[in-house]
């Protein structure tokens, strides 16, 4: 791969991802509305798509206020971390054969590491805001992440066992005959649940929980800094969706009448829609319920899954 090609891919991925994240504002509002028997924003531009521009402009022109009691440097840094770490994770995602920024041989570990760094933005943001509710949100965010990170990683290990590689392109190639959703259904479901918790989306938006904590860790944020958290969340959704696609649903693989990247985006988009559907349908669990399901049900389940996968893998190898 030449340098120009590489730069093109990097710029392309960045461009596409940021646009998807912005476009999701519209997608989410429209889809949520449809699922609630409403129409949603449909005035600005065809089907209301320019609401994205309007929303972005609005965020830019909002007063960007840093509370005088906040820890300024950390306060400014926090929103950048969430966007940065989420975007960095896309480095290892293979969109189509050859279209990947860096096909690291520790790709999966890189993804897990980046998603762990993402939680720093919540903790730092909540801490630097110097506000009780923000701090509570940050605390919840941190404990939720620790709980769910554990079996998020473990649920992916089944796939790694079957493939024998951390490299994402190898994992996709290993699904040539059969997608891993068939061999690893439990892992797929658990990974998705952990993914929702990881992006702190509804129903697991415990760190922000509007009804209990106002807006949790970003209560003090305004203007584009809040916008960064917002965009970070959407990039997170896209990331988890594309990880689901890559790990369990055969990545770019699909019948040949569509190009590989199209298959990848169709599958990813289906998961994004599912994220929004979950938001439309499920209520938020209580904080202790969330932790309890995490540690007492999902963790043992994923360990059993790992054990069985390992046993079967050994047995078939003879």
């Amino acid at each position: 791969m030449t340098v120009t090609q590489h730069v093109l891919i990097v710029v392309g991925v960045l461009f596409v991802m940021l646009n998807i994240a912005a476009g999701l504002i519209w997608v989410e509002r429209r889809m949520l509305a449809l699922w609630q028997d409403r129409l949603g924003p449909n005035r600005a531009g065809p089907l209301g798509i320019f609401i994205v521009v309007a929303d972005t402009l609005k965020l830019f022109f909002k007063e960007d206020w840093i509370p005088p009691f906040a820890d300024k440097k950390v306060f400014v840094l926090a929103p950048a971390i969430v966007v940065g770490s989420a975007l960095l994770s896309f480095v290892i995602i293979p969109f189509a054969p050859g279209i990947v920024v860096a096909d690291l041989n520790v790709g999966l570990l890189f993804f897990l590491a980046m998603s762990s760094i993402g939680v720093y933005s919540i903790v730092l943001g909540g801490w630097a805001s110097n506000n009780k509710y923000s701090l509570l949100g940050a605390l919840r965010g941190a404990s939720q992440m620790i709980a769910y990170e554990v079996f998020m990683g473990l649920s992916l290990m089944g796939v790694v066992m079957l493939t024998g590689s951390f490299k994402l392109s190898d994992i996709v190639a290993a699904q040539q005959d059969m997608w891993f959703i068939i061999k690893q259904p439990v892992a797929a479901i658990i990974f998705f649940i952990a993914g929702i918790a990881e992006t702190h989306r509804l129903p697991f938006d415990i760190p922000e929980a509007e009804s209990e904590l106002i807006a949790g860790f970003h209560a003090e944020y305004s203007g584009m800094k809040f916008g960064m958290f917002f965009v970070g969340e959407y990039i997170g959704i896209t990331l988890i969706s594309s990880m689901m696609t890559t790990m369990f649903f055969g990545g770019w693989l699909g019948p040949a009448f569509l190009p590989p990247w199209a298959w990848f985006f169709i599958k990813t988009f289906a998961f994004i829609l599912f994220f929004i559907l979950l938001r439309a349908s499920l209520p938020r669990p209580r904080y202790d319920q969330l932790m309890e399901t995490g540690w007492k049900i999902l963790l043992p389940l994923v360990l059993v899954n790992l054990l069985v996968t390992g046993a079967v893998a050994l047995w078939t190898r003879g």
Partner: protein, 171 residues
């Protein structure tokens, strides 16, 4: 767990349900005849102003947005010299309509009165007065009132007896 999946599925089915949204400027909202909206001053069947300038509406208004000045014409008929409603303060409660003894002030089903300048929301009598009897056709206050104001003579109204000559009762 099963109930969660069922919830998700049922929510998904709502995608195909009929939407409740009314797309307003193209599609109008159905307003009922007694919907409380823009305020008008009505006229009686003879085309005279119904308002007698009694100030009851101004007194009843909880936000004090009605201002008027009563006066009389050469026949002794009372009418408002000016009548001003500040719609930027009006809360469309309808108290003025209830207070009015002559059915003059009425709220009609119309809410499309947006303005760019606040001052334009102050309606004068010319803006309020309409050439119609509104919700109470056929009613004419001076026809049933006991006084003479150029509409009918004293004692000539419906359900009214001619005035008694008090002196004739003397023994």
């Amino acid at each position: 767990m099963f109930s969660h999946i069922r919830t998700i599925w049922l929510t998904f089915l709502h995608l195909f349900k009929k939407k409740v949204t009314i797309e307003y400027p193209e599609e109008k909202v159905k307003l009922h005849p007694r919907w409380r909206g823009r305020i008008v001053l009505t006229k009686d069947p003879d085309g005279g102003e119904r308002c007698v300038g009694c100030y009851l509406c101004a007194a009843a208004c909880p936000v004090d947005c009605i201002a008027l000045q009563a006066t009389e014409d050469e026949n002794g008929r009372r009418y408002p010299e000016f009548f001003r409603i500040n719609f930027s303060r009006c809360i469309f409660c309808g108290f003025c309509e209830e207070a009015c003894p002559t059915y003059a002030i009425q709220l009609i089903p119309d809410f499309e009165m947006g303005e760019y300048k606040r001052q334009n929301l102050v309606f004068e009598k010319e803006d309020l007065l309409i050439n119609s009897q509104g919700k109470y056709p056929g009613y004419n206050f001076y026809q049933v009132a006991g006084i003479q104001a150029g509409v009918k003579g004293k004692g000539e109204g419906d359900n009214e007896e001619p005035p008694v000559d008090v002196h004739s009762l003397l023994p």
